[in-house]
């Protein structure tokens, strides 16, 4: 069974985000970039399914040459192949554009893939759009925000998280599944894996090669500005005897903030 894992390079979650106001984009200088955390769960799940059922795991990203680093990490974790779909544009925050590129790539290069695994969202754009859009463009089923996945022949059962409950989703393959924390515990790369990943060739596929016309991928959103959120002000701080501070706290919530 061939499994595609769609991954993205993002700044690590401890990063402070600085904004270039002229270009309305994030200042990349000084940021530490990683494989998006939810994508790690997707990678791990793919490797586990391959371990149990056989087949091939292919890690794919849409991005610039800088994204080769995260593909090397996927190879080091155990992916059989990795492909970079080279996108000349920087981040557009347009999920449909990315989804169109991925869907076309799957049809052209991996039409027999049975499972397309994603992180439930990239940490950064936070759109939660691309998995469902790819599923729609390919006309296949989806289960998003999945914490358990069982593949059985040509079907799969997924548990997906909803508010205060879980939905059990029955899927026929091929299907799109997006991973939530809790799905598994991602493995670390081994030294051997890292050495092997260095030697592997990563094919690069261009947008033109996928047959897109120049206008076809024009972003559907026009960015007006990017801002820092308003900074919160530190308020009052009390200290002393626990009983007294507890009383002050409840008094604040009741009479001043009027919440309780």
């Amino acid at each position: 069974m061939d499994i595609l894992v769609l991954v993205k390079r993002v700044p690590d979650t401890e990063s402070k985000i600085r904004i270039n106001r002229e270009t309305n984009s994030v200042v990349e200088e000084g940021l530490n970039f990683i494989l998006s955390p939810y994508d790690e769960y997707a990678m791990e799940e793919a490797l586990r399914i391959k371990g149990a059922k056989g087949g091939k795991v292919v890690a794919v990203t849409v991005g610039r040459d800088e994204s080769l680093v995260i593909l090397r990490k996927c190879l080091a974790m155990g992916a059989d192949e990795a492909v970079l779909i080279k996108d000349p544009l920087p981040e557009t925050y347009d999920g449909l554009r990315t989804a169109r590129i991925i869907a076309r790539f799957v049809q052209a290069k991996y039409p027999d893939a049975r499972l397309l695994l994603f992180g439930k969202q990239s940490v950064g754009a936070d759109n939660s759009q691309v998995p469902a859009m790819v599923a729609e463009l390919l006309g296949i089923g989806q289960a998003n925000v999945v914490v358990k996945l069982e593949v059985e022949g040509e079907t799969a059962t997924a548990l997906r998280e909803i508010e205060g409950a879980q939905e059990k989703v029955f899927l026929t393959l091929p299907a799109v599944v997006s991973a939530q924390k809790g799905l598994n515990e991602p493995r670390y790369e081994t030294l051997k894996g890292i050495m092997m990943a260095k030697k592997k060739e990563i094919p690069i596929v261009s947008i033109e090669e996928l047959g897109f016309k120049p206008d076809e991928l024009a972003p559907q959103l026009a960015i007006i500005k990017m801002d820092q959120p308003p900074a919160r002000q530190a308020g009052r701080v009390v200290t002393g005897v626990a009983e007294e501070t507890a009383r002050q706290l409840v008094e604040y919530l009741h009479t001043e903030a009027k919440i309780i």
Partner: protein, 323 residues
């Protein structure tokens, strides 16, 4: 027209859908158009009255046996049919688990862009402008959608509810759901024990971090939660990664982003990825022994002290208040 998709669970309307409808009505008024709502499912026509009381001039009801239980593909197909017929300027969703599953599917079906998880919508000269947090709230992105209709999902707990009387004319539509071979069907819903509300939907979130010292002490937070209506227990990443509480409670950049009226943080130092997930809370209160903990920089009210000393009298004070 701005059309709002109304989510129902067990034949009840979700509050966050009413928030989305309230915002749709405000924006429709500014744009000089009407706000309409759409219900999908079976046995839900009776809910239309509630929607007219939140400003829906028309309530479309898409009823079909196959729509009894939520399925992304069938619901997207049903909605796409209605949208093509009505040609609304925008379609609003609430960015709930269902909204996040359904809105992108609909947008892709219509071949249009999607503004997800917005926290602000403004009507300008060029139409609607959307603001949404990116990097879990470390930055805000403001943009327009250049395609039409504009498909939008709104973050729960952010947009105020605004009751407003409207005609609420009920219009039943029959929809044809194309048969597909590739299926994804919800076969069962597994409730979590206790029927707790989700941290993204709670009015008040009571969170614990590494300072809670162990899983057993989260019981203290559940006891506080039991004293406060519409509250839920949250946690920091370190508490979740230590296995003290399930990941569905995690607030922060690899957990959930919350905007409650009150965020109570016990024993949470305030790592940047945690602050990202809760900084849009209306009021923040922190209890921590370390006076230099970064959480105090964002707290409206801070208590420097041992949480295990503070919680018992805090519970007593809350009980007094409930009287």
């Amino acid at each position: 027209m701005i059309l709002t998709y109304i989510e129902t669970r067990e034949k009840k309307i979700k509050k966050s859908s009413l928030e989305a409808l309230s915002e749709a009505r405000r924006k429709a008024a500014e744009l000089g158009t009407e706000a309409a709502a759409v219900l999908v499912g079976t046995g839900i026509e009776g809910l239309a009255a509630e929607l007219s009381s939140y400003g829906a001039s028309k309530v479309y009801v898409l009823e079909s046996g196959s729509l009894d239980r939520y399925s992304t593909q069938d619901y997207a197909a049903a909605l796409a049919g209605l949208v093509k017929k009505l040609c609304p300027a925008a379609v609003f969703f609430s960015a709930t688990a269902m909204g996040k599953d359904l809105a992108p599917r609909l947008a892709a079906r219509l071949g249009v862009g999607l503004a997800s998880d917005c926290t602000q919508v403004s009507a300008g000269d060029g139409g609607l402008e959307f603001t949404r947090p990116i990097f879990a709230g470390k930055a805000l992105l403001t943009f327009r959608l250049t395609s039409s209709p504009q498909v939008v999902s709104l973050r729960p707990n952010v947009f105020p509810l605004a009751p407003a009387a409207a005609a609420g004319e009920v219009i039943r539509e029959t929809v044809e759901i194309p048969a597909t071979t590739a299926r994804a069907e919800v076969t069962e819903i597994l409730q979590e024990s206790g029927g707790e509300i989700d941290v993204t939907e709670a009015d008040i979130v009571i969170s614990g971090g590494r300072g809670m010292k162990g899983p057993e002490n989260f019981e203290l937070l559940r006891e506080i939660s039991a004293l406060i209506p519409r509250s839920a227990v949250g946690a920091s990443r370190s508490a979740v990664d230590s296995g003290w509480i399930g990941h569905q409670h995690q607030v922060g950049q690899t957990g959930k982003t919350v905007s409650p009226n009150l965020y109570l943080a016990f024993g949470i130092s305030g790592a940047i990825q945690h602050l990202a997930g809760m900084s849009s809370s209306k009021v923040v209160v922190a209890v921590n022994k370390d006076p230099d903990a970064p959480i105090f920089k964002v707290a409206d009210f801070g208590v420097v002290g041992d949480l295990f000393q503070v919680i018992p009298p805090l519970k007593e004070e809350l009980k007094k208040l409930r009287g």
